[in-house]
Symmetry: C2
């Protein structure tokens, strides 16, 4: 685990996920590989799973840019929970996309269906079994946000988000919608208080702590959370939807995949000779991340690839070529499924509340 | 007009309504008698009326206490506009009542139907021709509030409402719902921008100025406003729903009416003899206000009563007795109509959006 995650965990009181692994039957590869590295209060979810009691997973999608492999991680995780009986709440954060990114309702609706829901279905999530909703249409979430907003004052939000006089009123209010998304699954309408887990990035932890705080003020169960290492961008920097060269998009063509992988940051040596002699470093390599996060299911196979790299038995050009083939195969089947699922995505969006 | 209204008008740039009277065909008694004393930009409403163009009247009711005669004024005014072709928007401010007064949704719903809508119908407003809506159910209003909230910052609201660190987030956000109520009648869904008038008390002028400000930022017509003298409380103080002894409630029994009138503040003299000799002062008298605001339609009759008082021809006991009779007659017919209208009020509430 990179050092900065360790520091963040200490600072925020996030606990190590690896300690829980022995309790989890057939953990997901993201769990086994330490990509899900931390948690807060995940024991209460495990208990619910062990006792066959209801629990919820809450997540959202922001329909404001093309979907990339970074987004896929959460879906893989949702599938894992779905197979284990979780009630899954899937929020289309169209209000957020409209407020923060200035998109129109038509744009967010189209994007939600064509780019997100059809891909979610293509990736194997049974969206029809989820509680799918659009923030804009969900009266319960907005009303509950107003109720929650009577229990928190400006100073508290300022301490978390740093709002000042120039902050727009809707941006000040938005965190309450966010918290309402997370907590409304425990309202009477959905069967009352229950353990809920939210997969988040560490940068979203402040929202989560606010949600936990407000949950206890209104008599609900403080939500648990899971923390993910973010995939790095292909150039070794942060991945970003707005800079397509940093990420593999689910719509990338084989040519784009080849070009992006060719430029990708690796753990290789300056020359082929050095690499053959000294070996590469998979822990620095974003191509290896693609394999570990997405393309190789079998742990032994993944370990074999890492070992071959470290021993200099396989060098970057060859590895990139093989990875590109796996990736193209995956993206091609994703494309086919996405097209097949598009009408269903439209119907689910239409029927959602 | 009392002096303090003059000062307020100057301070807020409100113009005198009496100057407009010659342009208005058959003005309402509240207009003729200077009870509607001020306006902002009412000319644009008059122009729409004169040209037969669409215009709207927007008002709200807060379902949080018993309805009294002070509330009746706005209904009389709405009826006047309704007869003149206005589109009337009637907002049940249940979100406000829940946020600010801590009522439950069940309480506000019951109160809206049993105490407000049935009285509105009883008083002759054709609610079925109004755009009636509940804030809580109106997605358009809430979404538009979030949009408006991206155009105004914390400093601006702080200057108007004085919010501080201890202010609850929902209270900070609420003014945007208020403004959205006023401005959403100009959205595409209701036929686009049009002159709109809002009857307000002077104390609500800050909301109105915020609404005008935001209207121009989003390309809508800044709303006009009408300003009312508030009826004084029966004891000469401010009227208040929470102090029933200060107001005639629409549900008061004949006994309560007699008792309240008996204690009411008048413009009489310490003794009957002095009053016979020196006369009373109707301009100080809350019983005369009841006559002027509600119980006497004919201007000459009202002037006759005032003259008889000033001349000492009628003294307070007798005047209170006659006023009580008028009031009891009015309240009795109101009670009958209210009972008759209750089912209709329930249906309209159910059908409202």
């Amino acid at each position: 685990m990179p050092e900065d995650y360790g520091r963040l965990m200490e600072e925020f009181g996030i606990r190590s996920f690896s300690e829980l692994l022995p309790r989890i039957p057939s953990p997901h590869k993201l769990m086994r590989r330490g990509i899900i590295f931390g948690h807060r209060d995940f024991e209460s979810i495990l208990e619910a799973m062990e006792r066959g009691q209801p629990y919820a997973v809450m997540t959202g999608l922001m329909p404001s840019g093309p979907m990339h492999l970074g987004h896929k991680m959460v879906i893989d995780e949702l599938k894992w929970f779905q197979e284990r009986g979780a009630e899954i709440f899937l929020c289309v954060a169209d209000v957020e996309a409209q407020l923060m990114r200035g998109l129109t309702p038509e744009e967010t609706e189209r994007m939600a269906i064509e780019e997100y829901l059809s891909n979610y279905l293509a990736l194997g999530l049974r969206v029809e079994r989820c509680h799918l909703y659009f923030q804009s249409r969900n009266r319960l979430v907005k009303d509950f946000a107003l109720t929650l907003g009577t229990r928190v004052n400006l100073s508290e939000l300022r301490a978390i988000y740093g709002f000042g006089g120039e902050s727009k009123i809707s941006h000040i209010f938005y965190p309450l919608i966010d918290v309402s998304d997370i907590l409304h699954v425990q309202l009477r309408e959905f069967g009352g208080p229950k353990p809920t887990v939210v997969p988040v990035g560490v940068d979203q932890d402040p929202h989560l702590r606010l949600a936990r705080d407000l949950a206890s003020r209104v008599g609900l169960v403080p939500p648990s959370s899971l923390y993910h290492r973010l995939m790095r961008g292909l150039l070794g920097e942060k991945m970003s939807s707005s800079r397509p060269e940093t990420a593999i998009l689910l719509r990338d063509s084989p040519e784009e995949v080849r070009r992006k992988l060719w430029d990708a940051f690796t753990g290789g040596r300056p020359t082929e000779r050095e690499q053959r002699e000294l070996g590469g470093d998979p822990s620095k390599c974003v191509v290896f991340e693609l394999l570990a996060y997405h393309l190789v299911e079998d742990d032994a196979e993944l370990a074999g690839i890492a070992e071959a790299c470290r021993r200099g038995e396989i060098i970057c050009g060859e590895c990139k070529h093989r990875t590109a083939e796996r990736l193209e195969g995956f993206l091609e089947s994703c494309r086919r499924e996405r097209e097949r699922m598009l009408p269903k995505a439209g119907e689910l969006a239409k029927a959602s509340f």
